[in-house]
């Protein structure tokens, strides 16, 4: 299965990005890593070019809240019905209510949302989700 991944927005947390890349490869995924400082449009374009099954966006500095709010608009321009949209990392900034983050990101268009969840636990849930979709 093909996964496009990278860190969204003005975020240079490259170590986390490498760990995600390695962990996905260890689990047998074909990974297209766009690296840090990636715009949402680039993620979407990479999914189209590679015919990917999963888009895994990560955010460590919490700016994803702003960078990802146009996901719904971008998804409406192309048929992404077979693609799983997942986001994980530190998804909020400042004094936010963590419980509101899941609904907010799902409302943006993400299928799976993991705020401050261990990487392996998040990837386990991704694999379960993919199995259930079959």
């Amino acid at each position: 299965m093909k996964v496009v991944t990278g860190v969204v927005g003005n975020d240079v947390h490259v170590v986390a990005n490498r760990l995600i890349d390695i962990s996905l490869q260890e689990r047998g995924f074909e990974v297209f890593n766009l690296g840090v400082n990636t715009y949402l449009e680039e993620f979407i374009d990479a999914v189209i070019e590679t015919d990917a099954d999963v888009l895994l966006v990560s955010s460590l500095n919490g700016e994803a809240e702003g960078w990802c709010r146009d996901l719904g608009i971008l998804k409406s321009k192309y048929d992404f019905s077979d693609v799983v949209f997942m986001i994980g990392g530190n998804l909020g900034v400042g004094e936010m209510n963590a419980e509101e983050l899941g609904p907010k990101y799902r409302n943006y268009g993400f299928d799976l949302v993991f705020h401050q969840v261990d990487l392996n636990e998040g990837l386990d849930q991704l694999e379960n989700y993919l199995k259930e979709r079959k």
Binding site: F32, N37, I44, I48, E49, D51
Partner: protein, 399 residues
């Protein structure tokens, strides 16, 4: 007698430039003669001294090739194809985002080559009958497909004469440029051979004739050996019809991984002669231009005048607009980090018209007004117009 080294010739639309043992001579074109007769008439004694294999020619006299690029996404297919086309010396007429192809009106002018690209190999097919339907409305001479391998047989059946090359998008989503670049530079050669007034250049050289912008781009890694230029730099070539920019890749933040240290970009409507009207239009629509005209102590009436003074002002405006269009204030194909720039090199006709001070004041105005800097990068003028000669032969062979 010692055999002379190499003879380098640049055939421009208004001048011939000849480089012999490092010395450059300029010859103004006689437009009553065809280009070949004009060259051989003016330089017959020089040409006689050299064997065909020692004469190297580049040319912009056929106007360059035009291309229409149809790509799947802006961030990959179109961006990669634009990069390769510009660096091959091609002028881009238009780009079409394939997912919204119905919204694009086919260009009216004849296109030398259409480039179609999209998807990595092994993915599902991305092109369907919408592509041949669109192409039926386009006047083109050549068409090349450099996209995913899944669509190849469909396109071979549906698009007569389509040339299939390796995908320019690698399986790692990176740019693979060599095959398309070679195809486009060879196409340039074929275009010259098909044109009656310039095909005879092959009577005096046995080497491939390249487009001048391609050669200028190739010269840039050697520029610091010849001029006091510091990386990162840009080279601006403002001509009569188009404006070429060559820039260090250090100035761009993007997803392209390439061996090329310098890329090229063309603004096809910012020339001061053939595209004067669109330059004036572009100037009038820029919010800072009236302040700039005031700074230059002229009024907007100068834009309608035909005088030496008006030409100078238009060239100064052209420099300003080029910098503006590449800056973060203008969303375009690329955005250069002009704050990092160490040198600006100017070549082409502009160096004959504007003095160093006139160029300096406009660049300083841009840096102060737009970027809020108190200083500007070092400015270098290629007044003798010799940069092209550094890219004609390998450094070892240079005179």
């Amino acid at each position: 007698m010692k055999k002379p080294n190499k003879l380098l010739i640049d055939i421009g639309s208004t001048y011939f430039k000849i480089c012999e043992n490092g010395h450059i001579s300029h010859y103004f074109r006689n437009f009553d003669k065809n280009i070949f007769d004009d060259l051989t008439g003016k330089c017959s004694e020089t040409l006689k001294k050299y064997a065909k294999e020692d004469i190297h020619i580049c040319s912009s006299a056929n106007g360059g090739l035009s291309t229409l690029i149809i790509g799947l996404t802006n961030s990959f297919s179109l961006k990669y194809a634009i990069n390769i086309a510009f660096n091959s010396g091609i002028n881009i007429i238009d780009t079409v985002h394939y997912l919204e192809i119905e919204k694009f009106t086919p260009p009216k002018e004849m296109i030398d080559v259409v480039i179609v690209v999209g998807g990595i190999d092994g993915g599902k097919g991305v092109f369907d009958e919408r592509l041949p339907n669109y192409l039926k409305e386009v006047n083109y001479q050549n068409i090349v497909y450099v996209g995913n391998n899944t669509n190849r047989s469909f396109l071979q059946e549906q698009v007569p004469g389509i040339k299939i090359l390796d995908n320019i998008i690698s399986s790692r989503l990176q740019m693979h440029e060599e095959e398309l670049k070679t195809y486009l530079t060879d196409l340039y050669q074929a275009d010259i051979m098909g044109k009656e007034d310039i095909k005879h250049f092959y009577d005096i050289t046995s080497n491939q004739i390249y487009s001048t912008p391609y050669i200028v781009n190739r010269s840039l890694p050697h520029l610091s050996d010849k001029m006091n230029v510091a990386d990162p730099f840009i080279l601006i070539d403002i001509g009569g019809a188009t404006t070429d920019i060559h820039y260090s890749r250090d100035l761009v933040k993007d997803n392209i991984i390439t061996d090329s240290e310098y890329d090229r970009l063309v603004f096809k409507k910012l020339g001061v002669y053939k595209s004067r009207e669109s330059l004036v239009f572009s100037a009038k629509n820029n919010e800072f231009v009236y302040e700039l005209l005031n700074f230059l102590n002229v009024t907007e009436n100068i834009l309608e005048e035909r005088s030496d003074k008006a030409t100078k002002v238009l060239m100064q405006l052209s420099i300003f607009l080029v910098l503006y269009k590449m800056s973060k204030h203008h969303k375009a194909y690329i955005e250069l980090e002009l704050e990092k720039l160490n040198s600006i090199v100017l070549t082409g006709g502009i160096t004959k018209v504007l003095s160093f001070d006139e160029i300096n004041e406009i660049i300083l105005f841009f840096y102060k007004k737009i970027l809020h800097f108190h200083h500007a990068p070092a400015i270098l003028l290629d007044s003798n117009y010799e940069i092209w000669s550094y890219g004609m032969v390998t450094p070892k062979e240079q005179p």
